[in-house]
Symmetry: C2
Subunit: 350 residues, 2 copies
């Protein structure tokens, strides 16, 4: 079996960590009797600077036939974020109906939590983030630009289809885990979108009487991730809330350097896309000090998605073994190793 993978290393440390993650994934493939056939795309802020676009006009079509997309991080000083992200990451998420952004976090062996007195088994959860609509919308604009009475409108869009499918995904996932779902809401402040979200959540919850469901305002939920993270397992959230809560969940477990992310098209009509939760971190780019673990774990999620569960598990086990030993660790993990040394160590641990 040969899988065709589109690699978009992107910008900054996205490039650094992608190289190492591919090294690990290639080794896992070799050992598990399948092949990964990589095609690399230079879509990035660098490309934008020289050509004026983040990707070619037919970018989406070029990717459509791949079995998976492996994305580094995107973003670079000088290119406004709303240009770089809305010219690549966000259009891909939408064109390929990757309406689930799956962000599992847990405290890995050999790493410590920022929280006091929490053990690994208390710190394991998954954020199921809506990834196609919600607060991230192109609708809106500016009125009276440049005048004292200037104002801006920004529209959020929540469709029944969009809300139902993400919540149903969360309940299905909960059945394979602890059987608990918590929905992030803010119906006391956002009086149109969130009461609707809550209504759909209640409808779907009724279809899953075996799953324990609850809802929590996003402000209280953020506090709870710090004060009682052990009481959370599957957290389902809108695009913006999921964005915030998943960074926070990463921070209370092993940090951003450890958190992978899958942009999933559940029906499999289109390719899914895998990336680290962290950004391109231009300040440390190219220095060989970025932690490649998040990108490697994103690769493991990609292998899961391709059905290569044994290889995916092997990659995760290799990561855990190397971290537990602590011999090879990048600066954020308290060590002095380079990105390449950690990548190699994980590949060798396979």
């Amino acid at each position: 079996m040969n899988y065709r993978i589109a690699a978009i290393p992107g910008d900054g440390i996205g490039v650094d960590v992608s190289v190492e993650a591919r090294k690990v994934l290639d080794r896992a493939a070799e050992l598990n009797g399948f092949g990964l056939e990589w095609t690399e795309f230079d879509w990035s802020c660098e490309r934008y600077t020289s050509t004026g676009t983040m990707m070619p006009a037919d970018g989406v079509e070029q990717l459509a036939a791949f079995d998976g997309i492996f994305l580094g991080a995107v973003g670079f000083p000088g290119v406004p974020d709303h240009v770089s992200l809305w010219g690549l990451l966000i259009p891909l998420r939408r064109a390929f109906a990757q309406y689930v952004n799956l962000r599992p976090v847990r405290l890995l062996p050999g790493t410590t939590s920022a929280l006091a007195g929490r053990s690994a088994d208390e710190l394991e959860m998954v954020i199921v983030r809506e990834n196609s609509e919600g607060e991230y919308s192109q609708l809106g604009g500016r009125h009276n630009a440049g005048r004292p009475d200037e104002f801006v409108l920004q529209e959020s869009v929540f469709t029944r289809v969009g809300v139902e499918r993400i919540i149903r995904y969360a309940f299905d996932l909960a059945r394979t885990r602890t059987g608990r779902v918590c929905s992030a809401t803010k119906s006391n402040g956002l009086i149109h979108s969130m009461p609707f979200w809550d209504e759909v959540f209640a409808e779907i919850a009724a279809e899953y009487p075996d799953v324990h469901s609850e809802q929590c305002h996003v402000d209280a939920l953020a506090a709870r991730m710090v004060q009682q993270p052990d009481r959370l397992d599957v957290v389902v959230a809108s695009n913006l809330f999921g964005d915030i809560l998943s960074d926070l969940a990463a921070a209370v477990t092993g940090g951003l350097g450890m958190a992978p992310s899958g942009n999933i098209n559940p029906p499999g009509e289109f390719p899914s896309m895998f990336e680290a939760v962290h950004g391109s971190a231009p300040d440390i780019a190219g220095q060989g000090i970025a932690n490649p673990v998040a990108q490697v774990l994103a690769g493991a999620m990609m292998l899961d998605h391709l059905g290569e569960t044994a290889a995916a598990n092997a990659v995760r086990a290799a990561v855990e073994r190397v971290l537990a030993e602590g011999r090879v660790a990048t600066p954020d993990l308290g060590g002095k190793s380079t990105t390449a040394e950690l990548g190699t160590a994980i590949a060798d641990a396979l």
Copy 2:
């Protein structure tokens, strides 16, 4: 000097903690030679249940002549939050142009942080939350209700006036503190509102060359509050971001039981309103176990606002002394004392 204060104990533990906070404030007034003349209003979910409205139609006029408003918490099961909050709390914030929601947090003596290895001097910051517009707007609605193609729009509104004044307030405040301001943004996801916010932030920052300014995406900022809280002092944020970040800031310091909040009308044309950050917690209401410290500290903020700085400082010192001793502590603080015992201990410590 006699100050006229409107007391709205509200619902649940709002009532429990307000009684104790008033006990402390009355004692502080007595000792500092001024008077607090309280007028109580029963505006609450209970009132809604019997009369159909949270407050009377002329509620705003009734409060307009007071020197301050002292609010417990609002909210009760059976009354939807968007009814209870938009029928009382939010209209008051807006009618009285309380456009600043000031939320200072710090780790108090005798309490411990949820974060590992952080000392009190690393955990002190203030969230300056926009309190009159932004994501909390009445604009929006539902299309195709009940049909499969149903969708909801929710509008956010950012005005130049609104954004300028909150950011300017944050910079002025920073001058009286460490001289550092961090702005919460999300211009990479929300491409209308947040680029505008950033633009205004940059303009105002240029007026304050002596203040160190930076901006941070709200997702990364949430992570930073957990991983590097010591690098934050004044954080300025939109209504929703400020809501989330202030609960989080409370959680990483002493918890929600400790966090006060002032809804401030800076020009002083209208009364300002002081409340705890926590909610009405119906599950523990009336049991006498709620921690009154947040409400007491909200009272100290009110005294500050009235210009009674000596009394305000005395209240804070009394709180610190009682907490440091640890003899009288409510269950959330690891003790067995009642709300009233803690209230009395603080009043006596004055």
